[in-house]
Amino acid sequence: MLRWRLLLMVMAGMTTARNVSQPDVNPQCEGLPECEEPWLIHVVATGNNDSIHHLWGIHGAPSFLVVTTSLDTGLNVTWTDFIKFSPLSVTFDEKPIHIFGFSIPNLILFDDTDDSGTLDNSTEPYIVVPMTNFYWEIKEVFNESTRESAVLMETTKFQDKPLPMETKISFQIAAYGLEGRSTVLPHLLRTPNSAQFDMVLDHLVLNLNTTDDEILMEVKETTDISGFKKARWAMDLIIFSSEPLNEEEKGIEFSTEKSLDDENTPGVFHLDQITTKLARTTKQGGYMQWRPVSYLSSDRDINLSTDPNIDGNFTSLTEISIALEESLAYAVFGDKLESAMTAQTKVSFGQKKDKFYAAKTTPHGLLALDMDRHQRKLSPRW
């Protein structure tokens, strides 16, 4: 099991408590058969001066957005356009103050023959698995208070075929209305302007080197995954923001910081983050933060963990792939996504001598990200 947690947030002035609404699955969707499957989840965190709309889209490239609007601004979804992957089919009553988010268009399975744990341009062979191949369902909705809302989504099918019981990808996304710290490792800090994202690759063994439908989903208890003896997982990651982009300047950047304190995440002294230009200059912008650790067991033992390795050399988005075109990000940005402040990169999971996730083979993993729209002082509150 590979687990990674990430914080996604945006900055919006003072960090005051917010009331967080219940997750609204497919808001305003009526009379269409597509309303039966999850397309869009909407959570609103209402503050004193503004609202933060958390939009979680699971169709196409899973996309997770934090949208800041003026108070009482509503969300509008033109479902007949949205299900046809039309641009700008998701809008707001007023132009948002700020949008920040990320998409995962593809998973990548690669053969890490030199056991470096990283995927780069020279790595071969590899197989790109578009996220459009997966079908999802909402397993659980959490809304026990007005300060927190969460949703757990899991894959059910791959290429129209059901996945075996123990094979799945799951996302858990939560929006918060209060400052605090997550109760599960890596205990990321959160604010009323943030959402936390957990990704789990659970026993994800897919036989991708066959066209035989019957054995495509076969889960093998071997070290050989799709013909790769040293298989590792990676993913494409696209980050985007509505901030104006000046071509001479760096828009979205990656940085890592070191701390003396590992109390909240035992054994991990680093904190990785992605920031937009506004976040770096005015403390008002988009912000992603995570601990560079991927746990390999459900009890999140540091002794059974590996590294999420991000390629810090970001490039701008130059082409909208099919997966991205079918995503929530495209529905919100439209064709402007290509010219917006974007960054694309790859995140691979592994480190030297980690025995390729598990001593006994089947790799699984988790991704945990925290997304916020307020920049926090990182120390000593890590």
Binding site: K258, L260, D261, D262, E263, N264, T265, P266, G267, V268, F269, D301, I302, N303, L304, K353, D354, K355, A359
Partner: protein
């Protein structure tokens, strides 16, 4: 592992040469340290037996015996720290957490909290020095074999059992080594030999940290996972077999020496009843607190340090092991030097205080800075050497408190790392060092109220002894 070797205050030499053990049957006996001569005809050696290397009456024979004595515990010291050198591999290959890993140290230490008292008794009453040494060395070898086997068959409980057996033999072997040393070198080069033996102990630990990863990587070419681990530990066990061979040879040399010089078998010396504990002075208990609290911050720390250096300072596993071994490397050279300094200057408590302060500073550097860990670890090596040289001469009994400190220190340390991380662990060590510092200050106060013997220089102590002798003569 620690034992009461290293330089000593010369004025305490007579007292210190007595290395008592507790007679568990409650009988107090007093023995002159070392073997006694038997009456009878002098043995005349001829031929090869009269040559320098075979004649116990010649210095070369004692030197050869010293050589085997030095390597008597080499295997034990080498293998003691194999968990520390292979910490990350043990946790990965055996799929255990830090708390479970730490049990590989605590299972060694816990039995030795009491075995130190019994070891001397077993040698004196049951086995004799020669067979006792061979038996304890065999236990060390057997324990290492069982521990390795646990790795090969992927059974962590077997590894733990092996460490327990290893521990039963380990410290008793150190007692036996002490007895041999006193027996062969009493009244001659005893201080120097003790210092040399302590240095050899540190060499064994150092070699472990520097070689186990290369051995593991080499074995990994033809094995995998826990088998690699088990085979690597089995190869480490060769040092125990070598030490066992030294024990057998030393036994033969000692037998010949006893026959030629017509000596009784060496004994452990003055015995102390367990009930005597009730009458120990306050200074003894304060010294025990210092022992416990100081060693909590040393051996458990070194046992867990490798992964700490890898995670916080981004060192690779080979470099991390090298940093861990620095304390021992420095101690190997610094212990005799520090012992010499303490011998010349006295004032043991002051040196203990300074050593604890510096140790506290080193842990603070490791906790609150990202300074290259070579620096604080090097200073810690010097401080540790100074403490051992200054502390042990103040202790006239075999004190197992350092084992107690290691035993529960490592258990708690493992739990703290898993739950709260390395920052909290370092603060844990610093708290104990503060306790050692407070106890040192208190013992200075107690001692000064009683005349201030431990704070005096050798010249002052000698003057005091002469003055008291003069008073005794005049009263007679």
């Amino acid at each position: 592992m620690e034992k009461s070797t290293g330089s000593h205050d010369s004025s305490l030499e007579e007292e210190r040469e007595v290395t008592p053990s507790t007679d568990v049957n409650g009988v107090t006996e007093h023995h002159e340290d070392g073997p006694t001569e038997q009456e009878g005809e002098e043995v005349v050696l001829t031929g090869c037996g009269a040559s320098a290397c075979c004649n116990p009456q010649r210095g070369l024979y004692r030197f050869i015996g010293l050589l085997f004595m030095c390597f008597l515990s080499f295997g034990s010291y080498f293998c003691y720290d194999t968990p520390g050198a292979l910490q990350d591999h043990i946790k990965e290959d055996m799929e255990v957490n830090t708390t479970q890993f730490a049990s590989l140290y605590s299972l060694y230490s816990w039995p030795n909290v009491v075995l130190c008292f019994i070891g001397g008794f077993l040698i004196d009453r049951i086995f004799g020095i020669r067979w006792g040494t061979i038996i304890f060395s065999s236990l060390v070898t057997l324990g290492q074999f069982i521990y390795s086997l646990g790795g090969i068959v992927d059974q962590f409980w077997l590894m733990q059992f092996g460490r327990f057996v290893f521990g039963i033999g380990g410290e008793s072997l150190a007692v036996a080594q002490n007895i041999y040393t006193v027996s062969w070198f009493k009244g001659k080069e005893l201080n120097t030999v003790f210092g040399l033996l302590l240095s050899m102990a540190r060499v064994g630990s150092t070699v472990n940290f520097l070689t186990m990863i290369p051995i593991y990587n080499w074995v990994n070419n033809f094995a995998d996972g826990y088998r690699t681990l088990g085979i690597s530990l089995m190869l480490a066990g060769i040092t125990c077999v070598f030490s066992l061979a030294c024990a057998i040879i030393l036994g033969l040399l000692d037998k010949r020496r006893s026959e030629v010089l017509r000596l009784d078998s060496a004994k452990s010396g003055e015995k102390v009843r367990l009930s005597d504990v009730l009458s120990f002075p306050l200074s003894f208990w304060l010294l025990s607190i210092i022992c416990v609290s100081y060693y909590v911050a040393i051996f458990p720390f070194i046992g867990l340090a490798k992964v700490f250096f890898m995670r916080k300072f981004d060192l690779d596993d080979t470099t991390s092991n090298a940093v861990s071994s620095i304390v021992y490397i420095i101690s190997a050279f610094a212990s005799p030097l520090m012992g010499f300094v303490v011998d010349r200057t006295g004032r043991n408590i002051l040196w203990v205080f300074i050593a604890v302060i510096f140790s506290l500073g080193c842990h603070a550097m490791l906790t609150f800075t990202f300074i290259n860990p070579f620096i604080p670890m090097s200073i810690l090596g010097l401080a540790y050497s100074l403490l051992a040289s200054a502390l042990w001469p103040m202790v006239s009994l075999i004190i197992p408190e350092h084992q107690l400190g290691t035993a529960y220190g490592i258990m708690l340390a493992g739990l703290i790392v898993d739950k709260k991380g390395y920052l909290v662990l370092e603060i844990f060590y610093m708290v104990w060092l503060c306790a050692a510092l407070a106890s040192t200050a208190l013992i200075a106060v107690v001692d000064s109220n009683g005349g201030g013997y431990l704070l005096k220089s050798p010249a002052q102590r000698e003057k005091e002894i002469k003055a008291s002798e003069g008073e005794e003569n005049s009263s007679l």
